[in-house]
Symmetry: C2
Subunit: 440 residues, 2 copies
């Protein structure tokens, strides 16, 4: 992975194809290797982080210096910065992956089709996965670790701002593969947009694309490829304050949903409030105002909100990614459900209510990836859900939905073991199948 600076503009497509083919071939060795070999590779990555700590922090320092000169915003600088404690967290994550059960070959279904004819459905890696991410160099180790554990080859496209940090971390992953007797080509660092866009055309070689970044970026990727994309198009998350809402809970959830991380996809963007709950709105609005939240409210709501601006057409159906909240009044739970179905983005929606029936209806009827009762929309997250590392959050309905852990990198195969069984022996008037379920 040592490269001369003039390669920064990205390699030529023919070189790229060679590298993706090499990744595909290396993936075969990675997935058929014993689980212990993948475990060893994960441990070696941890060793690399320990041994090369000063080189890693030096490389990161180069990125940070350049980013400061280029005037990168403070939150981005903080995401870019690697620290001793961030490296420690990465090592703990790797150790956890090394300890965790190897998913390859795990039996999901076992069924006796007939005497001596046994079917299994087993877990299997997807193949070659392209992951694009921004700023955070930690993602190289997190995604690389998940790829090693799940037997996938991965093409890692980081942001230009983390170039030096990403390079040395990719080098560590590749070194760990080679040290474990595996083919280091299973991990490929991709640099530059000129290299990324041609990859999106390789639908015969790449099996899945995971773009992590702005909505605009995710949508660009979705429009630019025939490869399946795991990502979230938009996060228009709604908090519905029911007529039976506890006002204190409504305030807590609104503040946390809007203010904890306003640019996150699971931040609350719209507050719907039942007409009967309007007496609580003034205190909700005051609390939001005290935290610097601008409100765009409809007429009925503005009567209770001295600071609110008038809501326009798009408010309530917009991902602000900022300290702005749309507020709208509804006459009923049904109207709230209809609003969410029409204007939401099926990412995460929550109800505040002390009425078990209202909560049950909301949970059953809202067709979003995550649906919450009396909990902040901000909980929609792989780490908080206990999925281990998060591959991404998907608003698609196919393959994986919501926060996605290692399961998003796995598919299945059917294995059938017989003794010379043939299909034409079965059918009307011939042998019948047993189809007896066995313990997996």
């Amino acid at each position: 992975m040592s490269r001369t600076p003039n390669e920064r503009s990205g390699p030529a497509p023919s070189d790229l194809v060679t590298r993706v083919r090499a990744a595909k071939s290396a993936q075969t060795k990675l997935r058929v290797a014993p689980a212990a070999t993948r475990t060893r590779a994960l441990e070696r990555v941890g060793d690399f982080l320990t041994r090369e700590r000063s080189r890693i922090l030096y490389a990161n320092g180069l990125d940070l210096r350049r980013a400061e000169l280029e005037g990168l915003a403070a939150p981005l600088l903080s995401r870019l910065r690697l620290t001793e404690s961030k490296l420690q967290v990465l090592q703990e994550g790797l150790a956890q992956l090394a300890r965790s059960e190897d998913p390859i070959g795990r039996v999901l279904i076992r069924r006796e089709l007939d005497r001596g004819l046994e079917l299994e459905q087993v877990q299997s890696p997807i193949g070659v996965v392209l992951v694009a991410f921004e700023s955070r160099p930690d993602a190289v180790i997190q995604i690389g670790g998940l790829a090693l554990r799940s037997g996938n080859a991965v093409l890692l496209k980081g942001g230009a701002e983390a170039l030096e940090s990403n390079r040395i971390l990719v080098e560590g992953l590749r070194w760990a593969l080679a040290e474990s007797g595996l083919d280091s080509a299973a991990i490929q660092g991709i640099e530059g947009r000129e290299a990324f866009m041609p990859l999106l055309a390789m639908d015969g070689l790449i099996d899945l694309v995971i773009p992590r970044g702005s909505n605009a970026f995710v949508q660009l990727v979705q429009r630019s490829t025939r490869i399946p994309v795991l990502g979230h198009a938009e996060g228009i998350c709604t908090l519905y304050v029911d007529r039976a809402a506890d006002p204190a809970t409504a305030i807590r959830l609104a503040l946390d949903g809007k203010c904890d991380s306003p640019s996150a996809c699971n931040a609350t963007e719209t507050l719907l409030i039942h007409r009967d709950a309007l007496p609580a709105l003034a205190s909700i609005g005051a609390a939001l105002h005290a935290r610097g939240v601008r409100m765009r409210a409809d007429e009925a709501a503005r009567a209770h909100l001295p600071y609110a601006e008038a809501a326009g057409e798009a408010d309530g159906a917009t991902e602000y990614g900022d300290l702005i909240l749309a507020i709208r009044v509804v006459d009923s739970l049904d109207q709230a459900l209809a609003w969410i179905a029409t204007h939401g983005s099926a990412h995460t929606d929550a109800i505040v209510s002390e009425d078990p029936e209202a909560c049950a209806r909301f949970l059953a009827e809202v067709d979003s990836a995550s649906v919450f009762a009396n909990a902040s929309t901000r909980f929609a997250d792989g780490y908080r859900f206990g999925l281990g590392a998060e591959v991404g959050i998907s608003t698609g309905r196919i393959h994986a939905r919501g926060p996605v852990g290692i399961a998003g990198l796995l598919t299945t195969r059917y294995l059938l073991r017989g003794h010379g069984h043939i299909a034409s022996d079965y059918g009307p008037g011939k042998r019948a199948f047993l189809h007896r379920e066995l313990e997996p």
Copy 2:
């Protein structure tokens, strides 16, 4: 669903959009209805088949007469023909679906994130599914039944040759929905290619396309839409006769794989044979020849096959869909694995061997949707696998792979029930998550 004949050319796109929107809205009612309501609808479809038997067979007779006049081939006529016994099989399938557990809301994961904060991952319908199929009008009832059970709206695009049969069966499904207090718009019959192609552009309204038909058709659909497609691009299935193969088993599997249904996607197209097993090839070839199979063999194989033609470049990597078999000699199991990885289509591949180690390696290393040891490739089928009705066979690695049953029509949602929990209470130096697994 009663239409005037001049609508046969397909409705205008604006009418189509209205119908798809109506399907989407009807799907909401279908999925939130109690399980018993969907069960009742399934029972009503069965009633319709009983009560309207003579009208159904009359409509089918119109299709058959036209098809005969147009000179449709005998196998297609046989697929098009509805009989008392076929209707009986459909009714049994409906009764089975009516008895089966309702999949909506089934809990897959239950996890305590913290005290009073409980996460569930539950099954949920995908939404609006477009299914295109040819000839067999039975598919209307099979797919419609699966859609009712799983809470999906379905747009059913049948072939022109089954127009009258499909119409009356779609009418039955819609009648059953209305009779059960559901919105009949959840089932839409789509007629004509002019109506089908515009549907492929409705990626905001339609969630999944399942094209059933020729490879050319599946590939056309895949190229024409941004909606996820569940289907199989090609079925180049290989039977590998290992050095430790039992010759009698090799003959049985080759005959069944090639001759049972040569046009099926799971038919065997290529026979690879280990050099050490060549003494058995003459009798395999004689058995195939006796069944009318033409063989295209490489030079080493032709020495044992008096009837075989010389294989060209493409033989061994072609889906013939006919009584033609490619035969190639390999020097080792490794060479067989490499051939399948390079030239196969990752649909279904099988090994014949009495050597448990060779079988284990083949099952572990062949990265195809279905991988068999000592069983015919023809077993790759939802009915034979015991999946209940088959939605299709997928060679994609995303969402569903191999023969796909009702699981292909389902996705998941995360439900979280809290008591005013907020995300900013958790993190380093604050509350820690429990992440305790509970029984689903």
